[in-house]
Symmetry: C2
Subunit: 349 residues, 2 copies
Amino acid sequence: MAAPTLAVVGATGSVGTVMLELLSSRRNVWGEIRLIASASSAGRELTCRGESLVVRELTPEAFDGVDVAMFDVPDEVSLEWAPVAVARGAVVVDNSAAYRMEPDVPLVVPEVNQEVLEHRPRGIVSNANCTTMAMIMAIAPLHREYGLRELVLASYQAVSGAGQIGVDVLHDQLSKVAGDRALGSRPGNVRQAVGDDLGPFPAPLALNVVPWSGDLAQWGWSSEELKMRNESRKILGLPDLKVSATCVRVPVVTGHSIAVHAVFAAELDADGARDVLRHAPGVIVVDDPEAGEFPMPIDAVGTDPSWVGRIRRAIDDPRALDLFVTGDNMRKGAALNTVQIAELLAADL
Amino acid sequence: MAAPTLAVVGATGSVGTVMLELLSSRRNVWGEIRLIASASSAGRELTCRGESLVVRELTPEAFDGVDVAMFDVPDEVSLEWAPVAVARGAVVVDNSAAYRMEPDVPLVVPEVNQEVLEHRPRGIVSNANCTTMAMIMAIAPLHREYGLRELVLASYQAVSGAGQIGVDVLHDQLSKVAGDRALGSRPGNVRQAVGDDLGPFPAPLALNVVPWSGDLAQWGWSSEELKMRNESRKILGLPDLKVSATCVRVPVVTGHSIAVHAVFAAELDADGARDVLRHAPGVIVVDDPEAGEFPMPIDAVGTDPSWVGRIRRAIDDPRALDLFVTGDNMRKGAALNTVQIAELLAADL
């Protein structure tokens, strides 16, 4: 059989850019790779696997002959175009939130629930939210061992989760505040220095943390917080899992971190949990505080695994574990997991 | 009776500086204010209440005639000198961790447990840790209403908690990373740009979060995390309270934030909790996400109250509440609470 054809929809975006890097560096399973984007980006030339490729416009015909199509586009674009790609014969791996909670669309993290990939009646497979992804890589192997009952989560999310505009806005703000040592010590002076250009964020990120990510969903919860709850339940197959998440944006370029408090059915200890995590795929244990070793964005950026550390049994609950996880939100949190799913689909064609 | 004499020990430090600002702006209850510091700082002139004062060296005689002495010095200095001040007739209000967990030293947050101030057999009163303080201001009134059972905490701590050196190091690091848009998107390049000057921190803070604060205590827990547990139990008078805390340093100058998941004995709802907090002393409710209103360091810095928002009942537990708190770690978290205690003592002399 000829090597399969892959389409990358949203190829010029920041996640698309990482997808092309990954396709250039991983073991190649693809024949043609076709880059697709909106009309305004069509015609641009991008490099993938050492070849220069011209970006095609998103049209129904662009999917003719495509076996697998990876989408990284806004929800509404996925809603419109994923069915078009499927109608033209492609299997779609979608990184938007549009289909994740649909009961007939599998939500896949290959290291965790690869088996659900087989049942995809709509021809669409969803990729999990970037914050959920980093955390679930560490929690899934612990769940298998100890039986997960409850998660309390607090996130430290990077600006690249909001796209290249988020990165640009943070760097612009940092240039404005750098060099003035009085900033951040007096009320209002950071807002004044940063000015009105907040980009996609509701407040300045420089010298600040912003306890908000996504849109207002319901009962005061943000959409990002509900994603962490609902996607964790679906991926782990635990419809009654108790989850509380607080999502917070921090002045970090790339690398989402999560402080995790996980309650299990069985008693456990930190050494046992550390051992489980050391043998888990896609996880690296970095847990020696005295040596300054804990998971941090500046180390995890550009790497594939979820970095896990600060592994402690709760002092007041022998069934609970506290830990800290950092993962590259552009790679495993978005591009890498999508590419992994696409590769699994390619092997099964 | 003559107005009482106040000593400020550690007057030249960053918390001492805020103490002098507060003493200059609050209703004056003091006669003489005496500034005391180590020999290396003695002789410096500082302004308080519009007067220029010469800093005296820390000696036993410096406490003669002092009614109340506020200490902001390292633990070991408090251990040595607080008893000296007491022996010379002063009541000591100590902001170090040296005495906080001693059973015969009251640990006081005036809005929460003012009554314990009366029993101080050693003549020493302790001030709570800055991270605990911001959080406890919001949790204590909720505890009175609903009966607190458990806390899961994740902190977002500012660099000024590590003193002026922390602020200087962050600003230096920001100057080094500002203007280079590639930083933070590739592995290792932030460490390279920042260089070796990490100051009091185990890793760079610019474009990073560091899941560590304090020293290694036991079982993998940091001293700061144990303080949040043990001091919360003591202040609230709940020796069996379940507490898990993960303490994380973020690139913020001043303003400690805490994501709080609190479980109570009674069922509650967000509106009721919000109402309790609106009537709580030392608390300001900032909770309108659609209008971009939530507690943030750049707004809370330089103010007295704990800012509380993102108040949500847990979706999966009607007895649990999730919220986000930010407080100025230099003011209520250190100088302000110490000054408040000193003023209560002055009124009772």
